[in-house]
């Protein structure tokens, strides 16, 4: 790297910056893997200067990963980014910024206790010998705010601002760094309608000023209204890139739908309606839930669909006693659970597969054995002392059923593949012979072979009479497994689908509900 810069060597920051503003950005053969999952697979894409370019796709399609590669947060395994036909190295967000690429994250990343102007110039304050030149900063702020046309007070603290203005602060920050490309990840996900409209206006203004804006979104309507061109991603690959005016809601939904996975799913058995309700939530109100009710009967697999932020995950957490309820009640096998906690629900025979095996599932440094038995220690101990032989026998029996290599049950669970880690969580859940199972994203980030075995496991559990709530972001999984599907939107059920209604298209359109078209999904 210390050799004199040759014509073809990658540009690193510090050199004269190639003109992103006149040439745009090219992605050439970008691939990125996470474990066994191809998050991005040979992505070739051009982002033209002065345009609004949208990336759209289902959860897990790779759009956020691609955004992170462009903004320097992630480095591609293969392929590169080029400006003006010259490859550039973006090893960190800081280097990307030096190239003129600014990022506005899903979660606004401002310092709440600093003023608006301090936030805008954070890290790039005019200074001399390490001391901030307050007057210079004030002058810069006045120039910047005048150019932008935003109505913000420089001295106000950020923590007092609502989300919309906060996003404006982020945009100003990007502008003040002379950004030529601004990456926005789900910019309107947390905004109300008026704030979204204001943001769209700001984004267009940026474009008219010659800045390229990459908007990552799953709001189809937003993309159609805002973008100049649209790239649809599915399973880490580009389906197509086309001018937005050539696309329709229907064409985009169709492009986003995955390949059929029907061969992977076991045959469905119809769940008799007469069976008793095993797990029930009534009028649940909690953070992210707005008075939702669900019932899971014996032998039934109830699917729950919805976009990120629809309350899908929160429903699972609330039913398991993990989210404090503002109101509503949870019943197991007909009798109510007072002040629900995970411990109480486990004791009543409810098991859970938590949404993230890393964050709230496994003890990564402990052994497979200990991870599997943590919820049923009372059954294999006497006076608080664990009976080792009983424990080993129980685990051996369970792991054999799940096809996890048994000889390694004393190894740390972190040494297993994602699929086998997930099976350890299933072993934990099944150890207690549950009456009901809440499976939240049970196949997230695992390969197709492990997925198939988890599907057949779920099916056999249901057949043996367990009531299963299957919460998933993957439509194929829901249509392939569930007897009926609840589609959630803004903390409520926006559609209940069963039988032939359970198509991925119907799920998507109900999940997009308001964003797509109001009141769709029920009566067509």
């Amino acid at each position: 790297m210390t050799v004199a810069v040759q014509v073809r060597s990658p540009v690193t920051h510090g050199e004269a910056r190639p003109s992103l503003r006149s040439a745009g950005l090219d992605l050439i053969g970008i691939s990125k893997r996470f474990g066994g999952v191809h998050a991005l697979n040979d992505i070739n894409l051009r982002i033209a200067p002065g345009t609004i370019h949208a990336l759209i796709g289902e959860n897990g399609a790779g759009k956020s990963t691609l955004g992170k590669v462009i903004s320097g947060v992630l480095q591609p395994d293969r392929g590169h980014i080029a400006i003006c036909n010259r490859p550039v190295l973006l090893r960190s967000p800081r280097e990307a910024l030096a190239m003129g690429i600014a990022t506005i994250e899903q979660e606004v990343s401002l310092a709440p206790n600093l003023s608006v102007q301090d936030n805008v110039f954070l890290g790039a304050e005019p200074r001399r010998a390490g001391i901030i030149n307050r007057r210079g900063l004030r002058r810069l702020w006045q120039e910047t705010i005048a150019d932008s046309g935003f109505h913000l007070t420089g001295s106000e603290l950020v923590k007092g601002l609502p989300l919309g203005p906060r996003q404006q602060v982020e945009i100003l920050r990007a502008i003040s760094r002379q950004a030529d490309l601004i990456v926005m990840d789900e910019p309107t996900a947390a905004l109300g309608r008026d704030e979204s409209r204001a943001l769209h206006r700001d984004i267009r203004k940026l474009r008219d000023g010659g800045v390229a804006v990459l908007v990552i979104s799953h709001f189809i309507k937003e993309v159609l209204a805002l973008a100049d061109s649209v790239t649809v991603l599915r399973d880490g690959r580009i389906v197509r890139t086309a001018p937005a005016r050539e696309e329709t809601e229907r064409s985009l939904i169709e492009a986003m739908l995955g390949r059929p996975l029907s061969s992977v799913f076991p045959k469905k058995t119809p769940a008799p309606k007469s069976h008793s309700v095993l797990l029930e939530g009534r009028e649940l109100v909690a953070s992210g839930l707005d008075g939702i009710s669900v019932e899971v009967r014996a032998g039934e697999i109830v699917g729950v669909a919805g976009l990120d932020g629809s309350g899908r995950i929160e429903l699972g957490r609330a039913l398991f006693g993990e989210l404090p309820l503002a109101s509503g009640s949870i019943r197991v096998a007909g009798s109510p659970v007072a002040m629900p906690t995970p411990r109480k629900l486990i004791r009543r025979g409810v098991s859970v597969i938590p949404p993230s095996r890393r964050d709230d599932g496994l003890f990564l440094h402990r052994s497979i054995l200990e991870n599997a038995t943590i919820s049923c220690l009372a059954e294999i101990s006497r006076a608080g002392v664990i009976r080792r032989r009983a424990e080993t026998r129980k685990v051996a029996h369970m792991l054999a059923q799940l096809d996890v290599p048994l000889q390694r049950c004393r190894d740390a669970v972190a040494t297993l593949s994602g699929g086998n880690q997930q099976k350890v969580l299933f072993a934990r859940a099944m150890m207690r012979d549950p009456v009901a199972l809440i499976a939240i994203e049970p196949t997230r980030g695992i390969d197709i072979g492990a997925k198939a075995s988890i599907y057949s496991l779920l099916a056999s559990l249901a057949e043996s009479g367990v009531g299963i709530l299957l919460i998933s972001s993957e439509q194929e999984e829901l249509t392939g497994m569930a007897h009926r599907i609840l589609v959630m939107h803004q903390g409520r059920v926006s559609a209940e689908l069963s039988g032939p209604e359970m198509t991925e298209e119907r799920i998507l359109s109900a999940a997009f509900s308001n964003a797509l078209q109001p009141k769709v999904g029920r009566n067509d």
Binding site: P10, H38, E322, T415
Partner: protein, 359 residues
């Protein structure tokens, strides 16, 4: 996709072998240096390997061993108890005060009760209110030290007229002092608790991943609370053992020096300060290891000024080895896989970057 199915069947090893090195090193880490040091001392000093020296060494370390054994549980559950030195002193002066007029047994029970009480307060602050345990127990150590000074009015309490107060530490069974027996009993019992009981498993789970522990049905708050109560009781017992040995108690005994000796022993033994990993036997070896160094300096007549430096360096080695190995691993992998594919095709200089769409 096909390759990933195959690797899954074999139970894919997710980690590269290199990052396992610090782990195995830490797993057996302290044992080898311990044996080496003992060997060196046996060879270089004629007095080291004598029964008198070794028994004396154990006797002197008995209170630290007791406190470190319980402190290990606090560590593994993800906490830290800085109040042990203060509780050690308070328990001793309260027991001493009471023993001047009341039966010794009552005095001792009161001493341990004081430790349990402070442990409860620590646990309430750290587990229920979720105050950072370092801050909570630091503040409590000031409070407790102050209370101990109030109890004694700054004087030393002597118990030469109550010889039975000395029974706890000074009875000899099979030529070994009872203080040592008490310490070994505590180490073994707490070691077994951690290794074989439901509580032990819960302690590991709470320290390793509190969210997951809660989801798995573990009473996270109660488990954390229990570790602090045990730590408080052990600190009090340590104070009683030492005051029983010398038949006197002072509010200035123990204190920060003792607290740091306990933490140093636990850390050198290899219990992770991040929680979720560790063992009581490690802390036993760690405490004795540090005592051997002091003992060695004495026996060999080395300049005691270097003792502190040696001690500090050892602790740094104990806590720094793993992060250092991790940083080195990162550097190596960065050098091996530079962020961008280096060979850039000559077509880069051709003018067009026509994007092959949808292919």
């Amino acid at each position: 996709m096909i390759s990933s199915i195959r690797s899954d069947k074999h139970g894919l090893r997710a980690r590269p072998a290199l990052s396992d090195v610090p782990k195995t090193l830490r797993r057996s880490g302290i044992v080898l240096p311990f044996l080496a040091l003992a060997l060196v001392l046996t060879i270089t000093s004629s007095t080291f390997a004598t029964q008198a020296n070794l028994l004396n060494l154990l006797d002197q370390q008995s209170s630290v061993l007791i406190i470190a054994a319980a402190g290990t549980l606090v560590f593994i559950a993800g906490g830290l108890d800085l109040s042990v030195g203060a509780v050690y002193a308070l328990a001793a002066v309260i027991a001493g005060r009471i023993a001047q007029h009341e039966p010794v047994v009552v005095a001792m029970l009161a001493g341990v009760g004081v430790g349990v009480l402070v442990g409860f307060v620590n646990g309430f602050l750290a587990a229920v209110l979720e105050v950072n345990s370092l801050i909570a127990t630091l503040a409590m150590s000031f409070v407790v030290t102050g209370v101990a000074a109030l109890v004694t009015s700054g004087n030393s309490i002597t118990l030469y007229n109550r010889p039975s107060y000395g029974d706890l530490a000074q009875t000899h069974i099979l030529t070994v002092a009872s203080s040592t027996w008490v310490a070994l009993l505590v180490v073994v019992v707490l070691g077994l608790v951690l290794w074989r009981t439901v509580l032990g498993r819960h302690i590991y789970s709470v320290g390793g991943n509190p969210n997951a522990a809660r989801v798995a049905g573990v009473r996270v708050t109660a488990v954390r609370m229990t570790t602090f109560v045990l730590s408080g009781a052990a600190a009090a017992l340590g104070g009683l053992v030492d005051s029983s040995r010398v038949l006197s108690a002072q509010s200035s005994n123990g204190g920060d020096a003792l607290t740091f000796a306990v933490i140093a022993g636990i850390v050198v033994g290899g219990t992770s300060i991040k929680g979720g990993e560790g063992a009581v036997w490690r802390s036993f070896v760690g405490v004795i290891f540090l005592a051997l160094i002091a003992n060695g300096y004495n026996l060999l007549g080395l300049n005691p000024l270097y003792q502190q430096i040696t001690l500090g360096a050892l602790i740094l080695l104990a806590v720094g080895a793993e992060p250092a190995a991790r940083v080195i691993t990162q550097w190596r992998s960065l050098r091996r896989n530079p962020p961008v594919d280096s060979p850039v095709g000559s077509d880069i200089h051709g003018q067009s970057f026509i994007v092959p769409e949808g292919t």
